[in-house]
Symmetry: C2
Subunit: 143 residues, 2 copies
């Protein structure tokens, strides 16, 4: 068989996709928008990086990251460190303000998710976390 779970996943993912698009674009949780949050998170947790590396990591176009990075810089959340070996390149480092903002936004988001998942048992949350991670890995490889 194998059809039934697949059907469910296909439909639910499609629905989820649309809802997330709508929410992440038009509702703000905290201060940072979606892309700013992920960029900051990446820089904070994996160290500073250049535009190219970030674009690869996120599977987004370089130009997209370039603009998002500019926006972050303009707001004072990151600053550019020129690469001493390559005059074209630089890396983005998070500022104090960036780190604080990321922290507070992360808290806000976790609260939202805690609320959202209040009907989920601890076991379900564990499963969901794991499965989402696995799913993201698969999506990532498929791109």
């Amino acid at each position: 068989m194998e059809r039934s779970p697949l059907e469910a996943i296909e439909l639910e993912m499609t629905i989820l996709s649309r809802r997330l698009t709508s929410i992440s674009t038009y509702k703000k949780y905290g201060i940072l928008d979606h892309s700013a949050y992920l960029l900051l998170h990446q820089i904070a947790s994996h160290g500073s990086a250049g535009v190219k590396a970030l674009a690869d990591e996120f599977h987004l176009d370089i130009s997209t990251i370039s603009r998002q990075a500019s926006a972050l810089e303009q707001k004072g959340y990151v600053y550019r460190v020129p690469d001493p070996l390559d005059g074209r390149a630089y890396t983005l480092q998070i500022t104090e303000l960036g780190a604080e903002t990321l922290k507070s936004d992360t808290d806000v988001r976790r609260d939202k998710f805690a609320q959202l998942l209040e009907d989920f048992s601890e076991e379900e949350r564990g499963q969901l976390g794991q499965l989402l991670r696995k799913l993201n890995d698969a999506v990532s490889r498929a791109m």
Copy 2:
């Protein structure tokens, strides 16, 4: 306790959200775009409905659905049936072509997901399907 799964879910959902945005907007699986697919699916599986009802169902603005419905009609996937009791209203009914297109697109999507989930055990797929459904319900209620 309870922090770790929540952290994972929060992060993975954020990542997933971005990827889905990118994929659903810029990659087409089959013929129908994202919104057309969901609208047709809804009409096909829950019977014909008006713009208002669909907007409520999907938690989208009426204007958004109105345009998407027009697009579907223009492509011959649905037709309008005037409400005999209310001169302002109509419902959307799926056409033969719409039903066929939906069917073939659904097949394409399921194949894609089957491929994507090839490393998932049958049990994991079952869990994922259920958890996604529950998650969508929660998201839906939260809006």
